[in-house]
Symmetry: C2
Subunit: 141 residues, 2 copies
DNA sequence: CCGTATCCGTGATGATACTG
DNA sequence: CAGTATCATCACGGATACGG
């Protein structure tokens, strides 16, 4: 997800029908969503919350390497876009519970397809890279 | 796609099983792929090439707003990762043909799921944003 | 036609310190 | 516990000019 962005509409000018989801006069919705969720942490957070609800520091501990700041920004962004709900439990100390909304849950379905594809073709991509880097990189010591 | 990046592995520490594609000891493959493809142009290019092969300037004309530089970088990146093939036809003037590889074609399937989800829930996201911005933004004129 | 090289703005991310 | 504020950094992406 672009955590706070200003998108510029993209227009496809091909006058031929496209495989899916891309019509000839508007921006590609897949690109929008992929940019929305293509940041470093959003998918990770969504998947964790797909399992159960979490509290803030619980997420912070669960995701190795995320900064407090980025976790906050990511959660805010997901909340803003309707993927995640934020519930404050008035207690001492205060507890804030994050959970997926219905929308967020429906998003788990297509993102799972990507995840499964990624898991299945991980090696293929690595192999392709090795081939590419090996072929082109060796000319320049 | 992160057009030229240096990724740092992400480790999930939750000791509970995750919905899909995320195991407890490695980086999330979905996140990797989403970051790989979550840039401004990659999905657009893949979808165009999913229809048929294109020449460079043909793509440049088809995608309104892309710079020559970014088209080159995007294609190089997709080629490196094995999504796209690049074929030079020795002719005058020279023609370079870009096409999806088999790997690229298989990727159309999960990405289509995202595209369809995006098309279906476009409004929901916009509505959620309007609600969020309306509720929080109005307290600060 | 198909790029590469260079410069540069902006946004994304991290580190760190501070607060209700 | 759950953030916010501030500063620094670097990758992404655009504009432009040049080269094979």
């Amino acid at each position: 997800m672009s955590v706070g962005n200003t998108e510029v509409p993209v227009v496809i000018r091909a006058d031929i029908p496209l495989p899916i989801g891309v019509d000839d006069h508007r921006a590609c919705p897949a690109t929008d969503v992929l940019r929305r969720v293509g940041d470093r942490w959003s998918v990770l957070v969504v998947m964790l919350l797909g399992r159960r609800s979490y509290r803030f520091n619980e997420l912070h501990r669960a995701i190795e390497g995320i900064s407090q700041r980025m976790l906050t920004l990511t959660l805010r962004s997901l909340e803003r876009d309707g993927f995640v709900s934020r519930t404050v439990h008035p207690s001492v100390p205060p507890g804030v519970e994050y959970a997926l909304t219905d929308l967020g849950h429906t998003f788990l379905v297509p993102i799972s397809a990507v995840a499964e594809w990624a898991a299945a073709h991980d090696r293929d991509i690595d192999a392709a890279r090795a081939r590419y880097d090996g072929a082109a990189g060796s000319v320049n010591p």
